[in-house]
């Protein structure tokens, strides 16, 4: 019996790939014969992590095939023809309308993703969703199979490596650092972070800085519009880092005084857990899976009011007692996402599937 994972691409640093690699590691630790098959493998990924799809063998009925589903791909229409028990690891798909006017390819890929998701509704045996929000979305789509929720498996040990010293030194000057990490994409609504930061800087903290950490590759139109927006608002000290190495990302988390997320669509939102790990108070807009991932911790904004967000930013930065309580609550909640805890959940899911074999 083998447990294989199929994913369109394995690359360095993206959430789906990291989850896929972490699952492989956890399955290997339990002694399962496991492998990842991907259509493309980034050269940055450690050799032997995954095998190209064209080398994928025929599976047997007792094998378990896990398809990671996060976008449109022909694999979504092929998995039902394979032997073995079919499982979807559902990461969610961004609604295509967010990309309208910015990137037609992404818009199409997401539409195609939803098409695949609908196609598979009655063709898979089991789904492991990364959040309750995702599970409910699948139920609404007509999925009747068993669905369990297992958050993304994050190897937090990776975060123990040394953050980039140069970045730390450059910005450790006592000024407030507001941070949001995540790709520059329209659903993450970086413009709303900029709006809130503009009012925060204007009314509370004139020397504060905002770091929007994340790649804008493929989203150049949106990025240019964001830059134009910063200029039109006349807000200073907004820094788009672009794609940066992992140790620099760690440095920005280390520097952050407050983490602000205004995203309108997330299937899970790993950066929230990363901010928790770095003991940064979180201010987030209550949308999609965000409330579920925060689990009653951080500060959840019920509405998109930049003035309210700015006021909260000020409280989370200045009110020491509040800040301490928020961080403590976040830390306690983070214990639910330890590698050990999620690995246990993964084994439970596997036992369930194997018990039904």
């Amino acid at each position: 019996m083998r447990i294989v994972q199929i994913v369109p691409n394995i690359s360095y640093g993206d959430g789906v790939s990291n989850d896929c690699i972490a699952i492989k590691r956890a399955l290997s630790e339990r002694g399962y014969d496991t492998q990842i098959y991907a259509e493309s493998i980034s050269p940055k990924v450690e050799s032997g992590t995954a095998v190209l799809l064209d080398k994928m063998p025929q599976f047997h009925d007792e094998d378990i095939v896990i398809l990671h589903l996060a976008s449109g791909h022909h694999l979504n229409f092929d998995i039902d023809k394979m032997n073995g028990k079919k499982i979807i690891r559902y990461h969610n798909i961004t609604p295509p309308h967010f990309f309208a006017g910015y990137d037609r390819n992404s818009q199409y890929a997401c539409s195609f993703g939803y098409e695949g998701l609908r196609y598979l509704a009655d063709k898979v045996d089991y789904v492991i969703a990364v959040s309750e929000y995702n599970k409910q979305g699948l139920r609404r789509m007509g999925y009747t199979c068993d669905i369990d929720v297992m958050p993304i498996l994050i190897p937090f040990d990776d975060y123990k490596q040394k953050p980039d010293e140069k970045t730390i030194q450059e910005y450790s000057d006592g000024k407030t650092n507001v941070v949001f990490t995540g790709r520059i994409v329209p659903n993450k609504k970086q413009e709303d972070v900029i709006r809130a930061f503009h009012l925060y800087k204007k009314h509370y903290d004139p020397v504060a800085r905002l770091f929007l950490v994340g790649s804008y590759k493929g989203m150049e139109r949106y990025y240019e519009r964001l830059q134009g927006y910063v200029q039109k608002l006349g807000v200073q000290d907004v820094c788009f880092t672009g794609h940066i190495p992992f140790d620099q990302i760690l440095a920005y988390y280390t520097l952050a005084d407050v983490f602000v997320c205004m995203s309108e669509h997330e299937g899970f939102c790993i950066p929230l857990l990363e901010a928790m790990h770095f003991r940064t108070p979180i201010l987030a807009y209550d949308s999609s899976a965000i409330g579920g991932t925060l689990g009653g911790t951080g500060v959840l904004l019920p509405e998109k009011d930049p003035a309210l967000a700015a006021g909260w930013m000020n409280r989370l930065v200045r009110d020491e007692a509040l800040r301490k309580d928020v961080i403590e609550n976040q830390n306690r909640h983070l214990e639910n996402f330890t590698y050990k805890a999620i690995k246990g959940k993964l084994y439970e899911c596997m036992d369930k599937v194997l018990g039904e074999n």
């Binding site: 009314h203 519009r225 039109k232 959840l300 003035a307 309210l308 006021g311 909260w312 403590e328």
Partner: protein
Amino acid sequence: MTKINIEEIMEEIRQEIRDKGISGDLLDFSDPSLGGFTVPLFNPQEMLMDLQAVHGNYYVDPVRPLGDGLKGKIKKALRKSVLFYIKPMVEDQNLYNINVLDTLKQMYAYVCAQETYKKRMDRMLERILKENEELREQIEQLKKQQ
């Protein structure tokens, strides 16, 4: 977990916003002044001028005139060494440009024909409405006479 009274702090912040007069009414991110693709109102004169501009620029010359001095001679030598690569690409581009130009001309011709047709239809509609009005009046008069 430590109980934090979020609602209470939320209300305090709302009061603070009112006291300080902070307004969240900022420039909208969808504001056209931020650039992006916008479509102006149709103007046949502008379309003709744009078409004339495209007509004047569609041809890209792969061998542009260069000076005769030492610099010019060096430039010519450099150009000669890469022309085998550049020229086919420029020719392909020119072919594409002329196809686009022809398509735009066809579109302009179609738009002009539709404009003429629309004007004729507008005149016809105006006449029909006028006749209709006159006929209504005649019917009203006939009804009164009965």
